[in-house]
Symmetry: C2
C-alpha cells in the first residue's frame, strides 16, 4: 500500500511463542530496540484502547520517551496494532509539528507456516513525505535489526 514501510522474517517458532514476544512487556523489552539502544520503560496492555508506552536509552543521546500510544487491534497469535496518534482509551494525542515528527500506526502480524511462522511488521503513515522521513530515520535498519533480534530470541525458546 502507498505510504507503508514493511518487512518480514521467517521464524522457526510457534505463533504462540512469537505472540508472547510481541505482547509481554518483559520479553518485548529484550528485543524491541536495536542494540546498543536499551529499553528503560515499556508499558503494554494488549487490548483495544490499552496503553503502548516506550522509553529508550540511546547511547550519546540519552533517554527518549514518547507520549503514550494506544493499542488498536489485539488478536492473539495473529496481530497487534498500535498508533502514536491516540493515547490510552483512544484519546487523541496532542499534535506534534517538529520537522521529524509524524503520526504512525504499527501493525505486527503473525502467520503460521509449515516450519513455524512468518512475522510481518508494517508502519502506516499519513503521506509519502512522512514515509520518507521514517525511511531517512532508518526504518529498514532499525526495524530490520529488531526483527532479527525477535527471530533470535523466539528461536532460542523462552
Amino acid at each position: 500500500m502507498p505510504y507503508d514501510l514493511t518487512l518480514s522474517r521467517e521464524i522457526a517458532a510457534s505463533p504462540a511463542t512469537v505472540w508472547r514476544c510481541l505482547t509481554e512487556p518483559e520479553l518485548l523489552k529484550q528485543w524491541f530496540a536495536p542494540r546498543p539502544v536499551t529499553i528503560t520503560k515499556l508499558e503494554l496492555d494488549p487490548t483495544p484502547g490499552g496503553i503502548w508506552l516506550l522509553a529508550m536509552d540511546i547511547p550519546e543521546m540519552g533517554v527518549m520517551e514518547e507520549p503514550a500510544g494506544c493499542v488498536l487491534i489485539a488478536e492473539p497469535e495473529k496481530r497487534i496494532a498500535w498508533t502514536s496518534a491516540l493515547g490510552p482509551g483512544f484519546r487523541p494525542n496532542a499534535v506534534k509539528t517538529g520537522e521529524m515528527d509524524f503520526p504512525l500506526t504499527a501493525i505486527m502480524e503473525i502467520e503460521a507456516t509449515a516450519t513455524g511462522c512468518r512475522y510481518t511488521a508494517t508502519a502506516l503513515h499519513a503521506s509519502e513525505a512522512d514515509m520518507k522521513k521514517h525511511e531517512a530515520m532508518g526504518f529498514h535498519d532499525g526495524w530490520g535489526q529488531v526483527a532479527d533480534q525477535l527471530k533470535e530470541m523466539a528461536e532460542a525458546g523462552l
Copy 2:
C-alpha cells in the same frame, strides 16, 4: 474525565433501535447534523478499522467535508467510537494545524434502562485547549440538538 465533553438523553426506544440509528448511514443522515444543516454524504462501516466519512451542507457556508475518519470500537447495541486522528484501516491522518483544528475521538454509548435506553455521547480531546475550541464551536448546542433529533426519530419508530 479531563478534556471530555459529554451529554446524554433518555430515549423511549430499544437499544436495538438506537443502535440502528447510530450505524445505518441512511438513518444517521437524518439526525446527525443540526437542522437546517444537511448531510450530503455519509459513509460508515461499523467495524474496527472501518470508514467514518461525513460531508455537511451548512447554509451560507457551503459543503464541508473532512478527511475520512476511522471506526475504533463497534459493539452492537452498546457503543461505537471513531476518531478523526486516523483514517480507514487505522492509517494516521495528516496533521492539521489550523487555528480551529483539533483531533477528536467520539464515543456513542447505549445503556438499557427500564423505559428504553440512555444515549451518551462523549467527545475526547488531546488537551483542555482543544476542548475549549470545541466548546466555543458549539459542542453543547450542536451535539445537544442532534441528540434531540435522534431521540425524536428513535421514539417515532423506524
